[in-house]
Amino acid sequence: MLAAFGSVAQAQAVRDATPLEFRDDAEERRFHDLVAELRCVMCQNQSLADSNAQIAHDLRREVFDLMREGRSDDEIREFLVARYGEFVLYRPRFGGHTWALWLAPGLLLLAGGVVIVRIVRARGRQPIPPDEEQEW
């Protein structure tokens, strides 16, 4: 029994080491695009594509296997979000608690713009007072 297990473990190590084999360039490109926009859950500042963490290896393998099962990119993203949370997406989807994240920059810009326009208009209506202390 133990011997059998040893060989399973060895086979496992071999499986880990086998590089992913793509059928064609299109599949490879799709895979790379997908893992580049997924975040490594362990290292958090790297994408799944860049990370060398063990879990990143496992998740890349999983993404590859899901692709082979014929799942769409969205289904694969959904698969990972269901397990690891919205955090795995470098481009979080709109909705739920991410709407503030998406809308905040635009709203801030808009608010700033309104403030500036108002200030400029208010100043435009005032004559510029002569500055007595100016020396030139």
Binding site: M1, L2, A4, F5, G6, V8, A9, Q12, R15, D16, V41, M42, Q44, Q54, I55, D58, L59, E62, V81, A82, R83, Y84, G85, F87, L108, A111, V114, V115, R118, I119, A122, R125
Partner: protein, 185 residues
């Protein structure tokens, strides 16, 4: 005109205070030990289904369905994991209270190493499940070791902790979680 200038001042003030608030929040959160721990989307949802071999009886498979009926604590560990060594005494203490079954989840380990580790430090587990290739761990959203899950009698995930469980986690977080699902002391 004065009104519009006042309004502008208020808007700028509110935005400024908001940003200061965010910054303060970030600074306060930055020294929390679990600041990088991801919240589990599994909380409140059924635990993933599995059928995994038992470390001490490699021929025997245990399925998630077999574990229903009583709550259990699933502790992810590996002999390669320094944090697991750190939390081992605390996990042992939880197991000794016999309040909840503690199940070991041996993740991406070698069979012999796992057995040796338990022999050396003691085996606190009611049962040790094995996930050599980490395939099943993905369903649990496991991304490191140690991680610990509390699953209730109906098979719903109620609590999760990433990183070593220490005395404070035990007191402030796990015990209240056990109380909440009505596990008698």
């Amino acid at each position: 005109m004065a009104a519009s200038r006042n309004l502008a001042a208020v808007v700028i003030g509110v935005v400024f205070l908001g940003l200061v608030g965010l910054l303060l929040y970030g600074v306060l959160v930055s020294d929390r030990a679990d600041r990088e721990a991801l919240p589990s989307p599994l909380i409140g949802k059924p635990a993933p289904e599995f059928s995994l071999p038992v470390l001490h009886e490699p021929g025997r498979l245990v399925s998630s369905a077999e574990l229903l009926g009583q709550p259990y604590l699933l502790n992810v560990w590996g002999s390669w994991c320094p944090g697991c060594r750190v939390e081992h005494p605390v996990i042992t203490r939880i197991a000794e209270t016999r309040r909840v079954r503690v199940i070991g989840y041996n993740w991406k380990d070698e069979h012999a190493d796992a057995l040796r580790w338990l022999e050396q430090f003691g085996n606190p587990y009611w049962l040790v499940l094995v996930d050599y290739d980490g395939r099943n761990a993905i369903d649990w959203g496991i991304y490191g070791a140690p991680e610990t899950f509390l699953v209730d009698a109906q098979g719903i995930v109620r609590w999760k902790h990433v990183g070593p469980v220490d005395d404070a986690t035990l007191e402030n977080s796990l015990m209240p979680a056990l109380d909440a699902i009505g596990v008698p002391e």
